[in-house]
């Protein structure tokens, strides 16, 4: 990821954003899915009576919290799963890879455009849940529980970390897949496992506090970093074009110019391109 060119990264991100804007399916999914995910939390919050005990409120809020975190995990997964196989399907991948753009610039440019709206929507939904609880919930402790420092911190940390996971895993599947539909289905499924981590907190198997939130956040961060290292490794130009990875065999690249009959061979220790 070293040596990223901001101009190239911005060019990739701008292109992705323009394509999403003109794809009704993506806009529709981004608009409708969060609204569907909001239905259950709203019903849960409104169903809590004024006399319900604080432990029951905490449980209900925990369930709401988990549902709200499904959004940043699921929404970008299908977008990321389309990102590489979709380019291959359209025939745009090869022209893209013949430019000086580095794989880090392609991956980050694409990931940014998938992550920013998903995380933004997750934060907006959380804010909406807090506002609704504050003004309309029958039990006044609901809003107070939702706005506890640990909940806000967990939401702030978990939403982007879950989005980064699901984008990474979606991109990896996309890079290895030859069919858009299969990639999107697998990508959505593969985005769910980290939610198990947050479910431990949501269902109070592990009590949520500031340090728990930080600890789980760090755990997700480590998982994300390890997974993205794998994603970068799968993004090999030769594999993307031909379906097979470049062999690590005797190879090319004389130290200087070569004339016919004068061939200098050096060890070729990698794929097509390190960039």
């Amino acid at each position: 990821m070293i040596g990223l060119d901001v101009g190239r990264l911005a060019a990739v991100a701008r292109k992705e954003a323009r394509e999403y804007r003109r794809t009704p399916f993506i806009i529709g999914a981004m608009a409708v899915l969060p609204l569907i995910f909001m239905i259950n939390p709203v019903i849960t919050i409104f169903a809590i009576g004024a006399t319900v005990k604080s432990a029951t409120v905490a449980k209900a809020v925990g369930a709401t919290f988990l549902v709200l975190l499904v959004v940043p995990a699921v929404i970008p997964a299908s977008i990321a799963a389309y990102s590489v196989v979709g380019e291959r399907d359209q025939g745009t991948l090869e022209p893209l890879l013949t430019t000086p753009v580095r794989r880090g610039e392609i991956l980050i440019g694409k990931a940014l455009v998938a992550a920013v709206p998903a995380v933004g929507i997750a934060y907006i939904l959380f804010a909406l849940a807090v506002i609704l609880a504050h003004f309309f919930a029958g039990n006044p402790t609901v809003a107070a529980t939702l706005t506890e420092g640990s909940h806000i911190l967990a939401q702030a940390l978990f939403a982007p970390l879950l989005a980064v996971w699901s984008i990474g895993v979606g991109t990896a599947i996309s890079a290895r897949s030859s069919d858009v539909r299969v990639a999107q289905q697998l990508g959505t499924l593969a985005s769910l496992p980290p939610l198990a981590v947050t479910a431990l907190v949501s269902f109070q198997i592990v009590p949520l506090g500031v340090w728990t939130a930080v600890g789980f956040g760090l755990g997700l961060l480590v998982i994300d970093i390890a997974m993205w290292r794998g994603v970068v490794a799968t993004f090999d130009r030769e594999r993307l074009i031909t379906g097979s990875r470049a062999a690590k065999t005797t190879g090319v690249g004389p130290g200087g110019s070569v004339g016919p009959g004068e061939v200098r061979r050096i060890r070729f220790t990698g794929g097509t391109d390190v960039g």
Binding site: G7, R14, T249
Partner: protein, 321 residues
């Protein structure tokens, strides 16, 4: 390395030495060696599956060769130099691969950004003008015909002002007028010193445009100017047609007339293999007249690049694969 240094240098644009690419047990191309000079239009011909596209992908740094070496635009091809090489070259695949939901302008803006062009607006306007697509800049690429998409692909390939352009079937799907425009464009690129590596199935296109051609069928079968390949492969010949069959052609088509060999070609026509057609033709004509034959025509036989291609490819053992 600055582009100016590369374009000023006299070193070849491409040096390919014993390059081989295998996918498992199958060879895509084997032991390929050639050089392409700067400003040369180099035709790369071969049947389907001959390894042309894989060669272009290898030189375009998309695929790592199994063995051999190459220098592209003055830079040795290696795992570490991919981005540097790609900055100096452009590749236009047979399918231009445009983003169909983006406009022509937006497609080119993306690539201008990827090449880090300083003044993208002016450059984009310039290349669109070059391919006669300026009035369609705001059209979505998905609504363009195949021919117009091909032009946008060419505009994209021109965008970075490359030292070496790899064009894979650039006139595929174009009507004759659009094809002629592309041919004119390639000719103008040569005048500007751009090296063009042209992969094509259109042999008349290669013959018209290319300074030299290479014929590949997994292995390189021949490299050279089309004229040189013709003379290497085919001896000069005269085609003689008479009003009636000659009673004794062996008495006329003799070594003294400059004829090395002759064969009948139909009822009253003969193909004569000669070393010097300009010397042999008048002698043969005089001999025919002296023998009382009515000469209908006598002409030097011209072999096309297609003849060369077919001769080489059909004679190649790989052709039967």
């Amino acid at each position: 390395m600055a582009k100016e240094q590369l374009t000023d240098g006299a070193a070849p644009a491409l040096v390919v030495s014993h390059l081989t690419k295998r996918f498992g047990d199958r060879s895509a191309f084997e032991d390929v060696s050639f050089e392409v000079a700067r400003g040369e239009v180099f035709g790369f011909l071969g049947p389907n599956g001959a390894g042309k596209t894989t060669t272009v992908r290898t030189l375009g740094t998309l695929i790592a060769p199994t063995s051999g070496s190459a220098v592209v635009a003055g830079i040795p091809l290696s795992a570490a130099t991919g981005a540097e090489i790609r900055q100096l070259i452009s590749v236009m695949p047979e399918n231009p691969g445009l983003y169909v939901r983006l406009t022509v302008q937006e497609n080119l803006e993306l690539f201008a950004g990827l090449y880090g062009l300083a003044s993208p607006g002016a450059r984009i306007a310039g290349v669109l003008e070059t391919v006669n697509m300026a009035p369609r800049a705001r059209d979505l690429c998905g609504r363009l015909s195949k021919g117009l998409r091909q032009r946008v692909g060419l505009a994209r390939a021109l965008l970075s002002d490359p030292v070496v352009m790899f064009l894979d079937e650039p006139t595929s799907g174009l009507d004759p007028v659009a094809s002629r425009d592309v041919h004119d464009l390639i000719a103008s690129l040569r005048e500007r010193g751009v090296t063009v590596f042209l992969t094509t199935h259109r042999l008349e296109e290669a013959e018209r445009l290319c300074d030299r051609v290479a014929i590949l069928n997994t292995r390189l079968l021949a490299v050279g100017p089309p004229e040189q390949l013709r003379t290497q492969l085919f001896r000069s010949s005269l085609v003689v047609e008479t009003a009636a069959r000659l009673p004794a052609p062996e008495a006329i088509f003799t070594p003294e007339m400059g004829v090395d060999k002759w064969t009948p070609d139909g009822d009253a026509a003969y193909v004569l293999t000669v070393a010097e057609p300009r010397m042999a033709a008048p002698r043969v004509t005089r001999a025919l007249v002296a023998a009382g034959a009515d000469v209908v025509s006598i002409a030097v036989s011209h072999h096309s690049l297609e003849d060369v291609y077919l001769e080489l490819v059909e004679a190649d053992p790989e052709a039967g694969r």
